[in-house]
């Protein structure tokens, strides 16, 4: 299975794709801090959403991003609108009256603000997920001098996942062939957990030793810099922007603590 199918990444060659992964990560953090801690919550969130939409158009991922965004947020917004519209403890201005229940303005306003904040953060995170090849993130982590173990931990689960999913399917098929019920009553389904999960987990844990030996004979543990075929491009301007964003994040957090 090609790895592009197991992550959200969509190949492309836009400016946003070529940005250093750390810049995109800093941008997610900046967005989060701005909409949740900064002044002018809804307005700032609305501006950031428009900005993110612009980035998405530039990276040619606007449609897939929009699809994931509304699929995630629409059910949330509906639940939130209903629950807060009817029951928010701050409710007192009646908007619509339905018999003995009423929809209140405060609850709807609250929902609107939360959905705006979430859209801003979610769109920034999706921009990262859609435009960053996982290997670029891993390379950036090791190029920045972080321990190779961290790069391994970020990268290897993505590679192990398809194989493990395949094994889960095999176990499911094998246990069904032995007559395992996975659809019946609640107690039956609870009992089905054990024969499905234990072989998967025990098998995976017993394999650890082999994998660890395989890493050690390839000198995973020796100190010193390792070279990589993959290069992530960085520039002075990008470094400047990165630290700029970090500075703004610190400023907003301190502003919040003072007020």
């Amino acid at each position: 299975m090609p790895e592009t199918h197991s992550t959200l990444f969509i190949p492309g060659d836009s400016r946003y794709h070529r940005l250093h992964p750390f810049n995109k990560l800093a941008y997610i953090l900046l967005t989060g801090v701005t909409v949740y801690l900064g002044p002018g919550k809804s307005l700032a969130a609305a501006c950031l959403i428009i900005l993110n939409a612009g980035f998405a158009v530039e990276a040619a991922i606007f449609i897939p991003l929009w699809r994931v965004l509304w699929r995630t947020l629409l059910p949330l917004a509906l639940y939130m609108g209903i629950i807060h519209g009817f029951f928010n403890p701050a409710n007192h201005t009646v908007l619509i009256s339905l018999g003995n229940m009423s929809v209140y303005q405060e609850g709807i306003q609250f929902t609107f603000t939360v959905v705006l904040q979430l859209s801003a953060v979610l769109s920034a995170s999706l921009l990262f997920a859609f435009c960053t090849h996982p290997a670029d993130l891993i390379t950036a982590v090791s190029q920045a001098g972080w321990p190779p173990a961290l790069a391994y931990l970020l990268g290897s689960p993505l590679l192990l996942l398809p194989a493990m999913r395949e094994r889960a399917r095999t176990i499911q098929a094998a246990q069904r062939a032995r007559g395992l019920e996975t659809h019946g009553r609640l107690s039956q389904r609870f009992r089905a957990v054990f024969p499905l999960i234990t072989p998967l987990i025990l098998g995976a844990i017993v394999e650890i030793e082999q994998r660890a030996i395989a890493l050690e004979v390839r000198s995973f543990n020796i100190p010193g810099k390792k070279t990589s075929w993959r290069k992530v491009t960085d520039s002075v301007v990008q470094g400047f922007f990165r630290w700029g964003m970090v500075t703004v994040i610190i400023m907003i957090v301190t502003y919040r603590f003072i007020n």
Binding site: F87, Q117, M164, A204, I205
Partner: protein
Amino acid sequence: MSRIEQLKKDFSTTTIVFIAIAIVINIVVGQMVSLLKLPIFLDSIGTILVGVLAGPLAGGLTGLLTNLIWGIISSPVAAAFSPVAMVIGIVAGLCAKYGLFKTWWLAIVSGVIITVFNAIVAVPIRLYMFGGITGSGADFMTAYMLALGKDLFGSVIITVFTSNLLDKVFTAVLVWGIIKALPLRTTSRLSRADSTIA
């Protein structure tokens, strides 16, 4: 043993591989169980396993990375809850350190303790980032509590605690059983395996 030595022992190559495997276990088991339509998720089983067998720091790292990687793979909402997953691993590790994974009934106690700390971290995130609602079945409970006249904070606490209690207790007991079933040859390579011997 000094702290540095313990840290080196806790983060051997075997542990690093164990963490990577546990991250995948969390994701795959979570998906497998969701097909059974049970009121449990089991998506922190790998995190708790690592916490018990390799210490609180390794457990915390497993939880944190699981949700971050989940964020890259499919749902960025999971990434927002990564601090919660981290705390689950840390607390599981600490429970094991104080002998709370030695028998199945002690594992139940650990499950309850994990649920309490899970709620402490999850409630503020759910409340401030998501307005108390995450689009899951548990939201009906929040709505019901609000309709009874409870405040949002109280409603969310009750929802998070009750919807996680069964899951975390079940997971903790399952982890205890899995460790009992593992061959000694495998567990003896992991730094904190002694903590589960009764």
